[in-house]
Symmetry: C2
Subunit: 341 residues, 2 copies
DNA sequence: AAACTAATTGTTAGCGCTAACTTAGGGGGA
DNA sequence: TCCCCCTAAGTTAGCGCTAACAATTAGTTT
C-alpha cells in the first residue's frame, strides 16, 4: 500500500505525453527534433516537459540507439600540465557537442594496463576514444588490438592506421635549438624525456637534425624522465663537465631542475650557460631568470582531437591527421655564449 | 536478405545461454555472482562467455537496475596540481570499485555554470557526484539545488548538510606560520588565494589565528589569485615596503612568483626574507633555493572521497566528513630573521 | 467528386537485461 | 511413506525509449 509521501520515481515520456495530450512517440519526436511535428504540438510538449522537469533516460535511449553519447579519454599522467590541458580541451569540446566524457588514467604504461583501460571503455560502450598517451607501448597496443570504435591518438606521428592530432615536436625542438645556434652557441646539450615517449623521441630528433643542419657536431644527450629532479641531475653533470654553453631541456620542469643545478654550481644563466625549456607552463615566466621555452597549444589540441573524433564517428576511420605548430617564447635564459662576448 | 559478410552485431546474453545450454537468466546469475548456480553450470557459462567474447550491455543493465555505475566528478581548474591529483585518486578508486568516471570542468565558477554541470550529470544519470570546487559559489549552489543523488564535496568545512572530504587547511596554515614564528619571525605576511575559495579563506584564517596565538599583531595580507604572476606582484610590493621578514604564500606557484620578485629586488631568501609555500608540488624541491612548503595528500584525499561516496550511495546521505592532515616540509627558504642573527 | 498526395500523429514491437515468480528435483523429519 | 523445504534451474514481464509501420487528416490533382 503506497503512501503519498513515497519517493516518486522521475517522470517518463509517457507522463509528458499524457500531460500534453499526445502520444509518447510525439514527445520523442519533439526531443529528437524530427521535422514533422506541428508548431503548436511542439510547444505543448515543451511546456509539459518543463512543468514535469522531465529528463530523458539515457540508458533506455542508448539501448535502442546503440550509442552511449560517451567518449572515453585515456591518459597517463594527467597531473602534468600538457595532458591535463589537452583533457580540458577535449572535455569542453565534447560537452559542447552533447557528449559525455569518461576518463581513465594509466598508473603505469604497460601493454596490460592499456588493454585493461581500453577494455574498461568497451564495457562502457563508448562511442569513441581519445588517447593521450604518446608512448611506444601505446602504439604497439593500438596496432594489435583492433578497436571496434573510432579512436584518435594525441601526439603520435602521422600514420595512416591512426587518426592523429599532434603538435609538431620536431619543429618545436628545431625552434629552440636554432634560436641557440643563432645566438652563436656551438655546444648545445639536450636533456630528453624517456625516449620511449614519442614526444621525447621527436624532440631528440629535432635537436639532432637542427644541429646537423648547422653543421655542428653531435653534442651531449642526457636522458631525463620529465621530472625536475632528473633535470637537476643533468644540470649538475653538465656543470661538472663544463663542455657545453647551452642546454635544451625537453620540458619546463627539467629546465627548472637544471636551473637549480647551475645555480648551485655557480654557473650564471644566461651569462655562462643558456637554457631553453619546453611547454611554456604558466610558471615558466616567473622562474629566475624567466625561462625561454616553446609554447604548445594544448587546449587547441584537445579541441581538434574531439573534432577529428566526431568526424571519424560520422564517416568511419579516416586516418587523418591534424598538426598544430608550436611557438618559441624568448625570455631571459638565453644569450650569446661566453666566448662570443 | 543478409549475407555472411555483414557486420555481426556483438553477442548478447541469449547467445551465451544457447552455447552453454542454459537459459539467459542463468547467464545473468553467473555474471552477477548469484549463489544458486552449480559449479559445473557456472563453469560452462564462463567458458561460453570467453569463447564468444561476450560483454554485458551496460545500457540494458542500467535501464533495469536504475543505476549507471557512473560517478560524476566536477572540477574547475583541473590543470592545477591539487585538483588534478585529487581527480586521479577518485578515478583510480572508482575504477577499482567498478565505477565509471565522468568528468566535467567548469571554465568559470558561477552558479549558472555549476547548475549546468550538475544538470549534465543528471542527464547522464550518474549514481553519485564528487565536487572538487571548493568555492563559495559552489556552497550556495549545493544548498539551493537539492540533489537526487549522493554527493561528496572536497575541501569544504564540516557541515551536516554535506558529506565532506578535506585537508585541514587551517592546520596546514598553522604549521607553516608556526614554523616561522618558531624561527623568530614577528612580521609574517600572507599572499592568499582569492578569498571566495574556501581553501584560501581557511588558510587566511589559520595564518591569523596562529599569529594571534603567538601574540603577534596582524601583519600584511595581500590577495593573490593562485598564479605565479600574482605572487610576483605581491613579492615586489613586500620588497618595496620592507616591513616584513617572512612571507607565507597560499600555494607553491605564488611562492615561486614571490621568489623571483625577491631576487629582482635584491632580497636574499632565506637570509633577508623567509618564504613558505603550500601544496608541495614536485617542483618545490627544485626551486632556488628549495622551497619550504606544506604537503597535502591529494591522491589520498581522492581515494577517501570515493570511499565516502560509496558509503553514502549504499546508506543514504551521511553528512560525514573525513579530514586529512597536512604536513610541513622544511627545506631551504626559511631561516631566522635578519635581526635575530 | 473520386483518388491520390503529403503532413502529422498514433500503435506496435523490440533493444538486452534483471527481478520476481514458477517449476522440477532431491534430501530430511514426522 | 508422505509432506515440507531447500536448491537449481527456467519463464515471464517489464525498464523507457526509438524505429518502423499504420492511421488519420487536410490539401491537391484529375
Amino acid at each position: 500500500m503506497s503512501v503519498g509521501s513515497e519517493t516518486r520515481r522521475p517522470p517518463v515520456m509517457e507522463d509528458v505525453a499524457r500531460l500534453a495530450g499526445v502520444s509518447h512517440q510525439t514527445v520523442s519526436r519533439v526531443l529528437n527534433a524530427h521535422p514533422n511535428v506541428s508548431p503548436q504540438t511542439r510547444e505543448r510538449v515543451e511546456k509539459a516537459i518543463g512543468e514535469l522537469g522531465y529528463r530523458r533516460n539515457t540508458a533506455a535511449r542508448s539501448l535502442v540507439t546503440r550509442r552511449s553519447q560517451t567518449i572515453g579519454v585515456l591518459g597517463s599522467d594527467m597531473s602534468h600540465y600538457g595532458p591535463a590541458n589537452t583533457l580540458l580541451g577535449v572535455q569542453q569540446a565534447a560537452r559542447d557537442k552533447g557528449y559525455f566524457v569518461s576518463v581513465a588514467s594509466l598508473s603505469e604504461v604497460t601493454p596490460a594496463a592499456i588493454k585493461d583501460a581500453l577494455e574498461y571503455f568497451m564495457m562502457q560502450s563508448v562511442d569513441g576514444i581519445v588517447v593521450i598517451v604518446p608512448h611506444e607501448a601505446m602504439f604497439e597496443s593500438l596496432s594489435t588490438i583492433s578497436m571496434a570504435v573510432p579512436l584518435v591518438a594525441v601526439g603520435f606521428g602521422v600514420d595512416e592506421r591512426l587518426s592523429v592530432a599532434a603538435v609538431n615536436q620536431r619543429m618545436g625542438a628545431s625552434l629552440a635549438v636554432q634560436h641557440l645556434v643563432d645566438l652563436g652557441h656551438a655546444a648545445i646539450a639536450h636533456v630528453s624525456g624517456p625516449p620511449d615517449w614519442i614526444d621525447a623521441a621527436a624532440r631528440i630528433d629535432g635537436w639532432r637534425r637542427t644541429l646537423a643542419q648547422a653543421e655542428l657536431s653531435d653534442s651531449v644527450l642526457i636522458r631525463g624522465n620529465w621530472s625536475a629532479e632528473s633535470g637537476y641531475r643533468a644540470g649538475l653533470e653538465l656543470a661538472a663537465a663544463g663542455n657545453v654553453t647551452a642546454l635544451f631541456a625537453a620540458n619546463d620542469q627539467m629546465a627548472l631542475g637544471a636551473l637549480r643545478a647551475f645555480s648551485e654550481a655557480g654557473l650564471r644563466v644566461p651569462q655562462d650557460i643558456s637554457l631553453v625549456g619546453y611547454d611554456d607552463q604558466p610558471e615558466a615566466a616567473y622562474l629566475v631568470p624567466p625561462l625561454t621555452t616553446v609554447n604548445q597549444g594544448f587546449k587547441e589540441l584537445g579541441a581538434r582531437c574531439m573534432q577529428m573524433l566526431l568526424f571519424d564517428m560520422a564517416n568511419g576511420h579516416s586516418g587523418a591527421s591534424s598538426v598544430v605548430n608550436p611557438r618559441l617564447v624568448v625570455r631571459s635564459t638565453t644569450a650569446p655564449p661566453p666566448a662570443a662576448r
